[in-house]
Symmetry: C2
Subunit: 406 residues, 2 copies
């Protein structure tokens, strides 16, 4: 007998039939003698429908009222799933964020969970009652509904698992686990049985869309055993675990990519102190996050190119800021380029293996792929490439690091 | 300066454009210096969509989870209307049932309001903040969302007006007031400027669908001044007021009808004590409400016909019960007839005018309309007719009591 949190995303509860399917999966765990809390998202499409209503009604964006509207989607799903479970003879009760309660700070639209008081849910486990909890939502200090931001239901599930001291948190989704690369691109990609929190965190921030970054951070912090698995097939998924739970680490565990960034180059910037501070200070003031940065050494000590990446969504805002600075930084031209991709390799094994970056660069060079910017951390190497090389680069690196399935 | 409650039904908030129109109406009252609380229903169609989801997901009907699902509709509307108001520069905040709170008993799906604690809303009136409240919902003793049953938003509005000691409760709807008869049938029907609570209550229970019966009862009890008016036109509506606020009462204020009843005749029932108790006892046990009853005097002292009406929705259930009793009551046949209509005349003036029923019966007889059953109270006379006479009877009575507009 174990205590489980099962989380189902919008696609998994997208229709009444799928909600019934979820109820069957929950019933199986209950029948096996487990205490079960379920966390669900809104039915797929519902949240977008609600967001469209909000933007149609007014250009004013009051995040408090936005939260009131969009949080209604999960309310529908928890009621329906509770009814579906009762229809199978399973005792079930729904819980909204304010009912549990899931206490958050008051940053509406992007709230952070501060505490989950789940004594009542635990008490009802004794009567074999399943708790069906609304993901994505909580209650702020002022008794107002808050939401956690897109994908927040993963975080809700992990936080609830931590609060319940659950033995495992199963994240059911439309893929059956974490792969060594996106299988739509790398047909030889293999499903991983296990991956460490650290690797998962890098993969999530570098483009793998299976789990929300914040949920992985939280799982790592509270040592919640996560499993990513399919809502539609009965297969074991990928366990996200402690480093110690994996006996031997691959040098590289996965190859990932993201098209969410855009490149900006300031050509022939004056090579003098203070220019970088001026540029990045102004971008920060405009809430534009800068990710990768490279500055070439100037040949004549007078001028040099400066290149960096920003979120692709932010490129227009960034250009507005930079155009105003053009004279101050005294550069020849400011050239935006949205047609770039960031491809990354991630692996705990890198820490003890030299030459990983070298292998990466050589493999790409052999295919004639030019690297525009590089950034590294202890367990990842990322490179910025022209977007057209995305698939080739992912497949090349997948083979180069011997990840191809036999 | 006054304190107002404005209530808008599902049709009035059925689209984003209509919500913006509602915001304009609210702004006008705020600009006039009034304190305003708004009560809204779900966008039209939304509640039915949610009810369909509930019935699709399971045949189990847990009223608590039903309430969780269907109450989400109003949550969407209050958020959207608050945003629309803010877009017009009007300070506004949304309030769910549990936030006000609107305290109800725990009869889920048909809860009754017990108390509304609106101190915080009143406090915010001082800052010119409009309170946008979800109709139809409250919170039960066990911290669960409750709903008041179909049309409950009218009751929410009146209860809030009573709690706020509002000067008036304006019910905006898709008709522009209370008419002397259904204008689709009686083209000469006229809009009433004023009507008493008592008359409105009879009209609502006898088929006029403009206001929910329970909301009129509550308005009468708490002496809340109600106005029924149009969401789409700028015209004064009908005020529902105290008897004393109307100087001279018409003998008949309105003619109304309902097709919601069905007739059952037990032919040649044994004319002996206990038969009526047996029949109506069994129907009551099966939760079938009986409305009009007539029993003819038997000519030979042995057998007689017994006729009564039940809700048309309940006719199959009633027949099941009666078929089982057939031998006990020893009747010749049990004949159901759903093709009937109940036409009623209502008016405070009846109390002081003799011969009103006589005028009614004579007018119908003159058109060759046979009366099947009669029932009366202090301020109304109802007759059961063959359904095909509905329009003719309504028009005939409308003329007979001099209600036709000039």
């Amino acid at each position: 007998m174990a205590r489980l949190v099962m989380k189902f995303g919008g696609t998994s509860v997208g229709t009444v039939e799928r909600i019934k399917n979820v109820a069957q999966k929950v019933k199986r765990e209950v029948d096996a003698g487990n205490d079960v809390a379920v966390v669900v998202s809104a039915m797929s499409g519902d949240t977008n429908r609600l967001i469209d209503l909000v933007s149609d009604v007014s250009s004013i964006h009051d995040a408090r009222e936005y939260d009131v509207v969009v949080s209604s989607g999960e309310q529908v799903t928890i009621g329906l799933l509770s009814l579906a479970l009762q229809g199978l003879g399973v005792s079930a009760r729904s819980w909204l964020g304010w009912q549990v309660p899931v206490l958050t700070n008051s940053i509406h639209g992007a709230a952070r969970i501060e505490d989950i008081q789940c004594e009542e849910i635990i008490k009802r486990f004794a009567d074999n009652q399943v708790a069906v909890c609304a993901g994505f939502q909580g209650i702020g200090e002022d008794n107002r509904i808050t939401t956690l931001g897109r994908g927040g239901s993963d975080t809700s599930a992990v936080a609830l698992a931590a609060a319940l001291k659950a033995d495992r948190c199963d994240i059911y989704t439309d893929v059956d686990g974490i792969y060594t690369a996106d299988p739509r691109i790398a047909t030889k990609a293999a499903k991983l049985d296990k991956i460490t929190y650290e690797e998962m965190l890098e993969l999530a921030s570098l483009g793998a869309k299976v789990l929300q970054t914040r949920s992985v951070e939280m799982a790592m912090k509270h040592r919640v055993k996560l499993q990513v698995l399919s809502s539609f097939e009965d297969l074991p998924g990928t366990m996200v675990v402690d480093e110690d739970d994996i006996l031997e680490h691959q040098v590289v565990s996965g190859v990932t990519y993201t098209r969410d960034e855009a490149k900006v180059t300031l050509q022939q910037v004056a090579d003098k102190p203070g220019v970088a501070a001026l540029v990045f200070g102004a971008l920060a003031d405009a809430h534009v996050n800068v990710d990768m940065i490279v500055q070439n050494v100037s040949e004549d000590g007078k001028a040099t190119d400066m290149t960096f990446t920003v979120g692709r969504m932010d490129i227009d805002r960034a250009m507005d800021v930079l155009d105003k600075l053009k004279e101050d930084v005294n550069c020849k031209a400011i050239v935006p380029d949205p047609n770039v991709v960031k491809v990354s390799i991630v692996g705990m094994g890198m820490r003890s293996h030299a030459g990983v970056a070298q292998t990466m660069f050589a493999a790409l060079a052999e295919k004639g792929i030019n690297i525009q910017v590089i950034s590294t951390s202890e367990i990842k190497v990322s490179v910025l490439l022209a977007e057209e090389y995305t698939e080739l680069a992912v497949r090349t690196l997948h083979s180069a690091f011997e990840l191809d399935a036999p």
